[in-house]
Amino acid sequence: MALSDLFSRRRKDGRAAPDTGPSSAPVHPTKALARFLTSLGSRPQPLLLDLGPVVGTNVTFFAEQVGCKILVEDLLADIDRHAREGKLDQLPAFFESRFPQEDGTVDGILCWDVFDYLDRAAAAALARQMVRVLRPEAVLLAFFGTADPRSSIRPTYTRHVVVDRSTLQHRPYAAARGKQRPLLNRDIQRLFEPLRVTEQFLLKTTLREVLFRKPAAAPPG
């Protein structure tokens, strides 16, 4: 490689830095992800269910950090499709049959902020399914917005890209449905019963991170 090539490459890199591509998307701290990973990592060959859009780096990250098998079920795409077809009222029934997994077979679930886009009935149906497929002692991580969504803003979904155990990059992309009214804390707890809230963080970004754990099955008799 010629010396001039080196310089030209460096100049090119310098120009590329302020680009507004995915790498310039905002980065946010996360407190709950590390706890989630710790819980998941304590299990042998865990099965992780990811309800967000597929992100290649996340797949690699979770597979390498935790050694888990990852199941990607992009529910935002499902919500989007229902919104476009005007069939949002069918979402609860859709969720009831959406997950073929057997009861108690999943070790961790990443819900990201999917619940923010659902009305009460659909959220309840989805939460029921999550509780069903979770293994006892398994964990579920969900994010909930606490600020009222502004209707004037064009709706977006967020692709959560794991940068490291304590940092997430939020990459917004166009959505057919905006966020719904935020759930209150007690509503969140009721929604996921009998799961227990083990960690809860309210971040400066007004995002509430909640880590749930399914209680161990009661001993027979």
């Binding site: 490689m1 790498s23 290649g56 690699t60 050694g67 990607v72």
Partner: protein, 185 residues
């Protein structure tokens, strides 16, 4: 640095041996073969299944393959690269060394080296491979099982020592860097 640059220049117009198939061709062609026929032979080593071709059944091979047509059944390319082109539609179980998806795959994909779903590519099925890259803009629904190479006692293809890096078909778009590298490492 300058010397190395000069050393590269004369060969830049010639093809580099891209995959295992090219090695075989070198032997067949002999050392005295002219560069142009050699290039043609190497190009012939990547077999194409054209847009209008429909295959139902089992597809086995021992060379790199690009599919632009429709295949239903089972595809097995042991130690070779399978590329599903943008027009390719696969409804099959796939086994190969590396699988690059630019078209549509409906079925489970097992690769001993890497599965690479590029922008516009679509996979509905389970992936089993030590390396998986999914580009932004790709569609994927299924599970990903990246066997750990270092896992003791695990018998699997992932444990085999990689003889050479995954051959990338020439002329294919490179994956975006954000998908190729694990985050936060």
């Amino acid at each position: 640095m300058w010397k190395r640059d000069e050393a590269v220049k004369p060969t830049s117009g010639q093809p580099t041996p891209a995959g295992p198939g090219s090695l075989g061709q070198q032997q067949a062609g002999g050392p005295a073969a002219a560069p142009e026929p050699r290039r043609q032979q190497i190009e012939r080593d990547v077999v194409n299944i054209g847009k209008s071709v429909v295959i139902k059944g089992e597809l086995n091979g021992s060379e790199d393959l690009t599919i632009e047509g429709h295949v239903e059944g089972k595809i097995e390319l042991k130690d070779h690269v399978l590329t599903i082109g943008p027009n390719g539609k696969i409804k099959a179980q796939v086994f190969a060394k590396s699988v690059i998806v630019l078209g549509e795959v409906n079925g489970n994909v097992t690769a001993t080296e890497k599965v690479d779903i590029r922008d516009g590519g679509s996979v509905d099925g389970d992936l089993v491979s030590p390396k998986v890259a999914i580009a932004e803009g790709a569609h994927f629904r299924g599970s990903v099982d990246m066997q750990r190479r270092t896992a003791p006692g695990v018998q699997g293809a992932a444990q085999r020592p990689a003889a050479q890096p995954a051959a990338q078909p020439q002329g294919q778009p490179q994956p975006t860097p954000q998908v190729a590298q694990p985050a936060g490492r």
